[in-house]
């Protein structure tokens, strides 16, 4: 286990190294200077600015500096907002995104599993078809459209929620719902098919023929094993919620990390773009690792440290 963990962490660092390198050089060749604005700067001033931000150093020196600093989560100052460090911006936005993301995560997994199990138990009956039609619809409606629909109906027409504000728990409900729609539908479908698989397997028949009640067979024997594919979907789920937050936070005016990222793109604020990208990647890679470890614990058939066991 320890060996496996070390190997995985080594891979994560390799991936991170690649991400930092690629984003660094991508931002180097990106068009436009961070100081390009409507107001023309005098050449002397521009030179001074570039000096201050270390932009006159040779590329390889800049790169090494960046790499070393990134290890300590120091992504340098923002180009656009004078006097603010990238890390300050990230830490300011992250709590909002975290709350929103966790909420969406709970909605998606909770209701997804519920719908999936319901559909499997009503297999080939009306309930099954209804749940699966809703699931296909859920997959087909992009999160940003879902967000605008929710906003229009519940905030503008019914006045039940505020259109764009982030102060109380009630303000997080609509964005979290919008964020959760697509993964929820995915999980429901996943859960349904794995539940059907499990319910047809031999050990369920054995349990039934031993005279156990339907409820115990379904929930104690069936559900636990059927949950495995859902757990392995958690990695992509985190990614989907993460990227979904870019537009959702923009639509609902939430000052989170996602909208910070989008703003930095429109501003061409390269250090912020790089910093948030690396930060997102760190979260994502560690979430995937966490999911794999949980998977190994939940399913004893999978040996994490066995040869070739990692995939």
């Amino acid at each position: 286990m320890a060996k496996y963990l070390l190997k995985r962490i080594a891979y994560i660092f390799l991936s991170l190294f690649l991400i930092i390198t690629v984003t660094f050089f991508l931002m180097q060749i990106a068009p436009g200077s961070p100081f390009a604005s409507e107001r023309k700067m005098t050449p002397a001033l521009e030179k001074q600015m570039e000096e201050a931000y270390g932009l006159n150093d040779p590329i390889h020196e800049q790169y090494l500096d960046y790499l070393v600093n990134a290890l300590t989560f120091d992504f340098g100052p923002s180009f656009k907002y004078v006097g603010q460090d990238v890390m300050d911006i990230i830490l300011r936005g992250f709590p909002y995104s975290l709350v929103l993301g966790l909420e969406a995560l709970f909605i998606a997994t909770g209701f997804g599993i519920l719908f999936g199990v319901f559909a499997a138990l009503k297999h080939n009956k009306f309930g099954d078809y209804a749940a699966m039609v809703i699931a296909v619809l859920g997959i087909s409606v992009p999160s940003f459209i879902m967000a605008t629909i929710l906003q229009y109906i519940f905030a503008i027409k019914l006045n039940m929620f505020s259109v764009a504000r982030m102060e109380s728990f009630a303000d997080t409900i609509l964005p979290a719902l919008a964020l959760a729609t697509t993964p929820l539908a995915f999980i429901a479908r996943l859960m349904r098919s794995s539940m059907l698989d499990v319910l047809n397997s031999d050990y369920i028949k054995t349990a039934k023929s031993k005279g156990m009640s339907q409820r115990i067979v379904t929930y104690k024997h069936g559900l636990r094993n059927a949950l495995l594919p859902v757990i392995s979907y958690m990695g992509p789920l985190v990614a989907s919620i993460l990227t979904g937050s870019f537009v959702i936070e923009k639509i609902f005016g939430i000052p989170g990390l996602g909208s910070e990222f989008v703003t930095s793109i429109t501003n061409r604020d390269y250090t912020v773009i790089m910093g948030t990208t690396v930060f997102f990647s760190v979260i994502l890679l560690f979430c995937v690792l966490l999911v794999d470890i949980i998977y190994g614990i939940v399913d004893p058939r999978i040996k994490l440290d066995a040869k070739g066991g990692e995939k």
Partner: protein
């Protein structure tokens, strides 16, 4: 008890025609015919195909039917509600939303199909080679794919768009750079399974070259999963296009796309909700059509998976 009347004839052996039992009762069907028969029964999937054909037709002819074009602004008639003159209304610059919707359809469908097509070519070749040769080749090729796969897809696409600038082709390229991996993984898995089949061995012992084995035997036999993945890639690409356009990284003006139109309509949502309705509706409809076709294909091509 009833009296049974028996005669000598009742004890004659019956004549059995041996050739009769050898006759094949049903018409012989191929794998694809069989799949088509199953697919046809799936009403949702057929509806999806009809919807797609209609959307395709409108994407080509819709703009000319409307009597307007997608780029002409008319500042005397901005933000009009749908009427007999402007069927879907007009936007804040007085452009006809009906014409813009179908111009957007052209672009959204083109991007979706093109990205899926390029994913297909790169993914199939990469996956087939990795799966067929195995060993070190497989390990290195899949390691590269794994590392790319670990990156968040949309994040990479966004970064590439920032660097390459806006445009239809840059968007397609950005999508394909990370999009082919899924296809490659599926093809590799299939080829890995198939290459130890006996018909491959038979063909090899008859002297077939690697290329012939790959393209004549292995890839055709993975066509089912490839087709399913392909139909599910298209809605993904359409979603990505809309997502990027929504963030302001998409199709440059004056061209429209459904994502651009949704994004523009959002600011006027409170007063002109119909401006949002049309593009949003067609994005969902297209994605829905591709999704149900993909589901139908999967059920039809892989009877084992049928639930």
């Amino acid at each position: 008890m009833e009296k049974l009347q028996l005669s000598n004839e009742d004890f004659q052996p019956l004549h059995i025609d041996q050739t009769e039992s050898e006759k094949i009762a049903g018409e012989s069907t191929s794998y694809w015919k069989d799949a088509w028969r199953r697919f046809r029964k799936n009403k949702l999937a057929i509806a999806g195909i009809v919807i797609l054909l209609l959307l395709g037709f409108m994407a080509i002819f819709g703009e000319s039917i409307s009597g307007h074009n997608y780029r002409d602004t008319d500042l005397m008639s901005t933000n009009l509600e749908p009427s007999s003159e402007h069927w879907f209304g007009t936007d804040n610059l007085g452009r006809d939303i009906f014409a813009r919707t179908w111009d957007g359809a052209k672009i959204s469908l083109f991007i979706g199909l093109m990205a899926a097509f390029l994913d297909l070519i790169i993914g199939v070749i990469w996956g087939a080679i990795a799966g067929y040769f195995g060993g070190k080749v497989d390990e290195y090729m899949m390691r590269i794919a794994d590392i790319l796969y670990g990156l968040p897809y949309l994040l990479v696409v966004i970064l590439l768009m920032v660097v390459m600038g806006q445009g239809i082709w840059t968007m397609i390229i950005a999508m394909v750079i990370t999009g082919w991996i899924n296809m490659a993984r599926i093809v590799r898995g299939q080829v890995l399974q198939l290459r130890s089949e006996e018909y491959v061995l038979a063909s090899r012992s008859l002297g077939a070259s690697n290329m012939r084995l790959l393209f004549k035997h292995l890839i055709p036999n993975t066509l089912g999963p490839i087709l399913v993945t392909l139909t599910l890639t298209v809605p993904n690409a359409i979603f990505t296009e809309a997502f990027l356009s929504f963030l302001g990284l998409g199709v440059p003006a004056p061209h429209s796309s459904w994502g651009v139109m949704t994004s523009e309509a959002l600011s006027a949502l409170k007063h002109y909700p119909y401006q949002l309705f049309f593009p949003a509706f067609f994005i969902c409809l297209t994605m829905l059509a591709f999704n149900v076709i993909g589901d139908g294909l999967r059920d039809a091509l892989d009877p084992k998976e049928r639930k």
